[in-house]
């Protein structure tokens, strides 16, 4: 990434040949009047999306045959950069001949894929991906007008990243299942935030309702709550599914004391000795249990050999493989 980023390239070099050709020569650019619609034999639908003040605006014209709901003719007008014009043009091409219900299923991903020169190379650079989103939005707008319903009703899920069409549900699930901790990881797993970046945090190109930073923080907080709750439940019922390593320090201490009380202390006390736990620390993979011998154990030859191994092995067996017992 670093080498690539140092000398900025021209975004134009990343436009596919198809995008460039459509920019130079859009095929479906134009307008449809009421008279045209009458002649073609359908209902004229005109929908606008975007705004010139934001840098992108598109107007979509459809003639829909009311008997069949088929889009008989379609045209667009667009204020925007080359990729906006090319995306609008491609979107119109994809609408034509489809029913309105089929057309609302066209997504910005379909539009972008249709503009690729070869299947594996994106048609536009990441920061231009949002241009194709507008094509998708204007279709929903037009369909809503035609059916007399709100454009939002075609969206059954909340889309957080429009460029990559990643839903809120997907994000929450992926973060949880894969234990994701950073925005970069979310982008690697889902592509959300890889394109125009508006959805990462407030202050980007577009204002959003949901931002990845907030979703991540919320899900992580929820996961932490759940973790603590599981451990607490497990300790109360004695059927913990949470591992020893997952427990809080307080819980680890309690659990360790329980094991020592049950399996170790009785033996030591028989010999007039005892131990006391001083601290428990997580040291990378190891869990270090610091303890002190008391009574007859102090100075006993076996305290640094046999007894120590016995204590450590018991804790390993009952609690966690990675426990080390360190007398001080």
């Amino acid at each position: 990434m670093a080498f690539e980023d140092l000398i900025g390239g021209s975004i134009w070099d990343e436009y596919s040949q198809k995008v460039q050709d459509l920019m130079n020569n859009p095929q479906n650019q134009g307008e449809i009047t009421e008279e045209d619609a009458e002649r073609i034999g359908g209902k004229l639908i005109v929908a606008d999306f975007g705004a010139e003040s934001c840098g992108d605006a598109v107007r979509l014209y459809w003639v829909v045959e009311e008997k069949t709901n088929i889009i008989k003719e379609a045209k667009f007008k667009s204020f925007g950069c080359g990729t906006a014009i090319a995306s609008s043009d491609t979107m119109i091409q994809l609408c034509k001949g489809k029913t309105v219900d089929e057309a609302v299923k066209i997504t910005n991903i379909d539009v972008e894929h249709a503009m690729r020169d070869n299947p594996d190379t994106p048609a536009v650079p990441p920061q231009k991906m949002h241009c194709s989103v507008m094509s998708y939005d204007v279709i929903k707008k037009a369909a809503g007008q035609y059916k007399g319903v709100d454009a939002e009703s075609f969206e059954t899920e909340i889309i957080v990243c429009e460029c990559a069409r990643v839903t809120l549900g997907t994000l929450q699930e992926v973060i949880k299942l894969n234990d994701l901790k950073t925005i970069e990881q979310i982008t690697d797993y889902t592509k959300a935030g890889a394109f125009c970046k508006s959805c990462i945090r407030p202050g980007g190109h577009e204002e959003k309702e949901y931002y990845l930073v907030d979703i991540l923080a919320d899900v992580r907080a929820e996961m932490e709550q759940e973790r603590l709750k599981n451990i607490a439940d497990g300790i109360v019922t004695g059927t913990t599914t949470a591992t020893f390593a997952d427990m809080t320090i307080v819980q680890k201490l309690k659990k360790t004391e329980e094991v020592i009380d049950e399996f170790i202390r009785p033996m030591l006390i028989m010999d007039g000795g005892n131990i006391e736990i001083i601290d428990i620390k997580q040291e990378r993979a190891n869990i270090d249990v610091y303890m002190r011998y008391m009574g007859a154990c102090v100075g006993c030859a076996s305290s640094s050999t046999g007894t120590l191994f016995a204590i450590e092995n018991t804790l390993k067996e009952k609690l966690d493989e990675n426990i080390r017992v360190l007398p001080i």
């Binding site: 134009w12 130079n24 009047t33 010139e52 003040s53 007008k77 906006a84 190109h205």
Partner: protein
């Protein structure tokens, strides 16, 4: 034929300048600070170049003109050293600049804000300039520095720098000007205009890239940004860019010789282009042409998005810009349009043409023709000029 009308971003190096620089790569490659004849070989040309720079802005021998790696460095140096010398551990905590400065000022101010400095970004009027009264009202007894550009890179508008410098002088506030777009295009005379610091850059006046300068008035020295050896009197360390300095000095001397020519002939070509743009309906030009650098015109063309305009011009082998070269990869609108309070719908429609003394009338005629074609084509596609049926209300 390719036509270059992006001279506010950078300029072609004058061949004479290039020729003057050539000996300092191979024949006279010595380090000027060494003690042998290889070093001495470079001294006459360096002295000459420094003389050309002092003459070029009419500086006094007692002032400093320190060579830097670019105007971005010069701007960073002034702002950061004022912070260290006059704000940190002092009563003062305030810097004044404008909303339309180059990123090499704005970004440094944002950084200083993160360190606790208070920064005022002065608004511009509908002409795109800061008014003296606006500045006067913003100065407080906590103000350590005022930094206002001499001419704006996007509009070419010339700021009332002399009055502002005099005002600051009278109030005892340090004054810096980013004169990158003025030096070599306008008469810049630091003996007449009481600025304390002034930044400039060679590649904007047909000199080489990556060499610039900072004028520091006598008695107003600031701490170095680049600590190191004893180069440039200890104020800016780093082995001297001999070829760059030679090129910059000569380039400024030549540029100053052309100021009258540019003011007459390049202004004529710019005005011709501007008039042709104004002949197109719904075109709006930013700033009064009499008060602009003679090479610049920033036009807003309703219904035509800036990048697509550049696309069409580029297909006709014409280079123009939508704004700051640094921001050309950026998706955002031209900030100057917002600053002057232009209609929001025009925010993405700005196109800048910036000429140079190498621009010819034939080129301008060609640009006029191709611009008209591009506007026609793009407006035919544009939703701003689209048919609206009677019962259709265009909501967002």
């Amino acid at each position: 034929m390719r036509i270059y009308l992006d001279n506010n971003a950078t300029t072609i190096v004058d061949r004479r300048v290039k020729d003057a620089m050539m000996p300092f790569f191979v024949e006279k490659f010595g380090n000027p600070n060494s003690l042998h004849s290889f070093a001495s070989d470079t001294h006459p040309a360096l002295k000459c170049a420094m003389g050309q720079l002092y003459n070029g802005i009419n500086a006094n021998q007692k002032d400093d003109i320190i060579i830097t790696s670019c105007a971005t460095e010069s701007n960073n140096w002034v702002l950061k050293s004022i912070y260290f010398d006059h704000i940190l551990n002092s009563e003062k905590n305030h810097i004044i600049t404008s909303e339309v400065e180059h990123p090499s000022i704005i970004a440094v101010c944002k950084f200083l804000e993160s360190l606790g400095v208070e920064v005022t970004y002065l608004p511009v009027n509908s002409q795109g300039i800061v008014e003296v009264a606006t500045l006067e009202n913003a100065i407080t007894d906590k103000t350590a520095l005022v930094s206002i550009m001499w001419a704006n890179n996007e509009t070419g508008m010339i700021f009332p720098i002399k009055e502002m410098a005099q005002l600051c002088q009278a109030k005892g506030v340090l004054f810096h000007t980013d004169a990158v777009q003025a030096v070599g295009k306008l008469k810049v005379n630091v003996s007449d205009v009481p600025v304390d610091y002034l930044s400039f850059s060679a590649h904007k006046f047909h000199g080489p890239k990556a060499v610039g300068g900072l004028f520091i008035r006598q008695g107003k020295r600031i701490s170095p940004l680049m600590h190191g050896g004893e180069h440039m009197g200890g104020l800016r360390s780093g082995t001297l860019n001999v070829a760059g300095i030679v090129g910059m000095g000569y380039a400024l001397e030549i540029a100053n010789r052309y100021i009258a020519y540019e003011d007459k002939s390049i202004r004529y070509l710019r005005d011709k282009l501007e008039d042709a743009l104004l002949d197109i309906p719904d075109v709006f030009i930013i700033g009064d042409r009499a008060n602009r650098t003679p090479n610049t015109v920033l036009a807003s063309i309703k219904g035509v998005e800036g990048e697509s305009m550049l696309w069409d011009l580029n297909r006709s082998n014409i280079a123009a810009s939508t704004g700051s070269a640094c921001a050309s990869e950026d998706l955002e609108s031209n900030p100057i349009m917002e600053a002057i309070g232009a209609d929001l719908d025009l925010a993405h429609t700005a196109v800048r043409f910036s000429l140079s003394r190498f621009t010819t009338e034939a080129e301008i005629d060609f640009v006029i023709e191709k611009t008209n074609e591009a506007v026609k084509r793009l407006r035919a596609i544009s939703s701003s000029y689209a048919y609206t049926p009677k019962n259709h209300k265009s909501e967002l």
